[in-house]
Amino acid sequence: MRVPKSERILAYVILITMASLVLAPVLAGSITAFKPQIIWVSSPPTWIFEPTLENFEFVFFTRKGWLYLRNSLIISIGSVALALILGVPAAYAFARFRFRGSKALMQWLISLRMIPPIVVGLPFYAMFLNLERTFNIGLRDTYPGLIITYQTFLLPLVIWMMRGYFADLPAAMEESAMVEGYTRLGALLRVVLPVVWPGIVATAILNFIFAWNEFFLALILAGNRTSTLPMTAGTYIVRTRVEWGNLFAVNLIIMAPVIVLTIILRQQLVKGLTFGILE
């Protein structure tokens, strides 16, 4: 379809305006991250200055940012790994087998993604507290505690996304392998997973971004040992002042992998959606 030139120009004008509205604060903040402390909040703002990495040095080493970065990585990668290990087989089952309540179960799963985090956060806190008191199992402020909690919003997404990929494949693909000498699991591993691999990568990236950005559940359930990067961003807003330069330095550290992954995700999603299956 040919779009008239005037319409295309209009579309670009609208898109550029909207993008500027969103990106201007991000850009201003990112510039601030490289400002020396004395001009963080100069009025009018200083735009010409000699960039410095002192803010990054401060948040990374003085305020132990590297520790929180490590926590964020462990928790995000761990929870995505667990969500894939549990979710991919579940998605396969949902795509291939019809069992009593399977449809209702799928709808319940999607509903988990609609509820606000506080609805699950507080019960988890209470549960963890009880586990500690009754069975002496400590999950508060531990990696496993957060990784388990994150499944509430990661697992539904993994199952929904992967079910779509599996459902697009003809069942005859595994059935063929099963007649040709493999078990269903063997067929899944040797035939189906290689085909849906781009879909798994796309799912993993999207879920990683969600886990990486997660703030509220971590605020409730993490502690000194397991603080994640988004949580520590809040510590630069104190009662007396906001440490703008440090805050935006942390923000940039949080944003960088998300930006890179989003670009990769875009390519993966296209690949994931066009498997190259014949017919």
């Binding site: 693909m173 099963m178 040709e180 299956i277």
Partner: protein, 373 residues
């Protein structure tokens, strides 16, 4: 290998009628049997039960006296070719054909020899290094055929493998499947809804409808001696002319058939069946090929008007109207006639069929007593 289905029953949970309704079937070793029927008749479900992809609710399946009912698909020594799947998309042609051999842990050299031999057999030995994207639909289905052959299965199961191909390729591959069957002398069970495909391929045709076997027999038998009105109607293109009518016994003991607008003398071979008929309602059938255009009217002849002529090549299909009934008539293209012309249809008594209007079963005595198994 002889395949025997005994009282095979399959119900799906979301349906109240059985998909396969306690069927019994014997397929002899080396036979090419075709399961034929409209969609939803249970033919594919039957095939999938033989493959082990569906579990029967009851009944047994044996291959060469070995009960395979409870075996996993991989242990049944059968091969299957599917309609909507031909190649594993992440593997090239060679790896596709070798895939079943990896399951039995053959040596690399043996695998290589087998793959090349089988590829030659289905004429794809020049495509071995191609990927999915580089082969056509027909070639991909040949890959599926090759893959089904590498493990030298006892029984080949084919679930409408040609349905997704264009007409020319379909005919070409059909011939090749027939050739493969002759060369391997294995048992083939082929599912199709295309009765022409069934006719050309099958040693035996099993016509199914609503989970029941309607008739099992040679293509000739199924075509010339249909055991019920469904088979008569389903097999053959254009399909048989079927009309409801009433029979009357004449003083001489012979029967006449009253049809809307005309009546006919019935051949004596129906007498036994008609003597046992409850009531007088029957369905009369005659194939388009068994009707002649006559020069003048006479016994077993009726007058009508040509309403439509379809050219089929060497022959024409004529739609002739008699009263409010439209007859399909096949004539030699050279003897054809024009639309709107009056015509006389002569029915060949030797090729008439008669079915009980209630049970729709054939009224030829020998057939009504013959079982369907």
């Amino acid at each position: 290998m002889k395949v025997v289905l005994k009282d095979l029953l399959k119900r799906f949970t979301n349906s109240d009628r059985a998909a396969v309704n306690t069927i019994n079937l014997v397929i002899e070793a080396g036979e090419l049997a075709v399961l034929l029927g409209p969609s939803g008749c249970g033919k594919t479900t039957t095939l999938r039960m033989i493959a082990g992809l569906e579990e029967p609710d009851s009944g047994r399946i044996t291959i060469n006296k070995r009960d395979i009912t409870d075996l996993a698909p991989k242990d049944r020594r059968v091969a299957m070719v599917f309609q909507n799947f031909s190649m594993y998309p992440t593997m090239n042609v060679y790896d596709n054909i070798a895939f079943p051999l990896h399951a039995i842990k053959l040596g690399r050299k043996e695998i290589d020899e087998t793959v090349r031999e089988v590829a030659r057999l289905v004429n794809i030995d020049h495509l071995l290094q191609r990927s999915v994207r580089q082969v056509s639909g027909g070639e991909a289905q040949r890959v599926a055929l090759a893959r089904s052959m590498v493990r030298r299965p006892e029984v080949f199961l084919m679930d409408e493998p040609l349905s997704n191909l264009d007409a020319k390729l379909r005919v070409q591959l059909r011939t090749e499947i027939k050739r493969l069957h002759q060369e391997t002398s294995a048992t083939f069970i082929f599912v199709t809804h295309d009765q022409e495909e069934a006719m050309t391929l099958g040693d035996k045709i099993i016509v199914m409808k609503d989970g029941d076997i309607q008739q099992a027999g040679t293509p000739h038998r199924v075509f010339f001696a249909p055991e019920n009105a469904f088979v008569a109607n389903f097999v053959g293109t254009p399909s048989m002319n079927l009309l409801p009518g009433a029979v009357q016994k004449t003083a001489s003991g012979a029967y006449r058939l009253q049809l809307p607008g005309f009546d006919l003398a019935l051949p004596a071979r129906f007498n036994d069946g008609l003597n046992n008929l409850r009531g007088d309602q029957v369905i009369w059938g005659i194939r388009p090929e068994a009707i002649r255009l006559a020069a003048e009217t006479g016994e077993n002849c009726v007058s009508g008007v040509v309403e439509l002529v379809e050219a089929l090549g060497s022959r024409d299909l004529i739609f002739a109207r008699v009263e409010d009934q439209l007859f399909r008539v096949i004539v030699d293209a050279l003897d054809s006639t024009a639309v709107g012309a009056p015509c006389h249809l002569r029915f060949d008594g030797a090729q008439m069929h008669l079915f009980d209007a209630d049970s729709e079963r054939s009224l030829l005595a020998e057939q009504t007593t013959a079982g369907t198994g």
